[in-house]
Symmetry: C2
């Protein structure tokens, strides 16, 4: 039996990421879960941030941003960056998170985040009351020691990354659980 | 130390959802992880599906779709729906998943998925080589027994939902792990 709840926000596990805007002198961080891949060629992602947010202003001005994966180790810092505004808070200073320069853009990446994406703004839209920024991924940085096989740069240990998963609706952060199966494989048993 | 990998797909935990298009006579299912909330008012989400996909054609024609949360229990069926095409396969028939009618739209929901969203298409865009469909959530269905407190319809047990988390890059399905903390709370200790 199903119960109808009316329109609800997606009750789903989402990634938690820190979006950085600005430059090495002055930069801001915001925490979001509203992020998705949009295209594989070129590699493009979308992020949603409030129309009146400080981050929205900075992205429109500077035309770039970085996406940095949040981990369980920096959960408090991550949550802090989501409940404060960069208009009146230097979030790098208070959180203790460390800026390091990007290779291609002004906005820095965060050292404490094991994976970082440099993004160039390619399109800015408004959906409802929210900015939707489309960015092309220009570069990916990964903590070197989290690459399992130096000859295979894609062999990144998820356990070592220890990503923070955000569950909307119940507003909980969750850790990664056990492996359930291999994607693109486990369904083959249903193909006759 | 960081290693540069060049542009990479987001190595992040993503939700796994089944998108249904069509009607009670003939419907199709596709599995995606490229989904995000786009706006809270009205409640709007975005899904990305290949420009040549069967699902893309059906959404453009029928102007609606449903989003159904995949669970660990239906992992094989979920993966199957992601590696086959509805052009030559009746995925409902082969997977054994069950269609039930939506309240407001033609596309059915899936009984075996504990949470279902009915969406009306509000905008269709192309990003790179991929369709980006923006849908407004008209209705949410939840398995009645997964609501913990009948007087509080938002009290949904995540453990009972048992969502399937997709990890791109390594192409793994993961289970939900332990609670790490409360969002919008745990960061308050950093506010002076």
């Amino acid at each position: 039996m199903k119960t109808k709840l009316g329109p609800q926000r997606l009750i789903l596990p989402f990634p938690t990421v820190l979006v950085v805007t600005g430059n090495m002198e002055k930069a801001n961080i915001v925490t979001i879960a509203w992020i998705s891949m949009l295209s594989g060629s070129p590699l493009t992602l979308g992020i949603s941030v409030g129309q009146k947010s400080f981050t929205g202003e900075k992205i429109k001005k500077n035309k770039d941003f970085t996406v940095n994966i949040a981990t369980v180790e920096i959960m408090d810092e991550t949550d802090f960056c989501g409940i404060t505004s960069g208009r009146n808070t230097d979030k790098f200073e208070i959180s203790g998170l460390t800026k390091i320069p990007s290779s291609y853009i002004q906005s820095p990446i965060i050292k404490e985040c094991p994976i970082n994406f440099e993004c160039k703004l390619v399109e800015a839209n408004i959906v409802g009351r929210t900015n939707h920024f489309i960015g092309e991924i220009l570069e990916t940085h990964v903590d070197t020691e989290k690459i399992e096989d130096a000859n295979n740069k894609g062999s990144i240990s998820i356990e070592a990354i220890n990503p923070l998963i955000y569950f909307s609706g119940v507003r909980e952060y969750r850790k990664l659980g056990d492996k359930a199966g291999d994607a693109y494989k486990t369904g083959k048993k249903l193909i006759g």
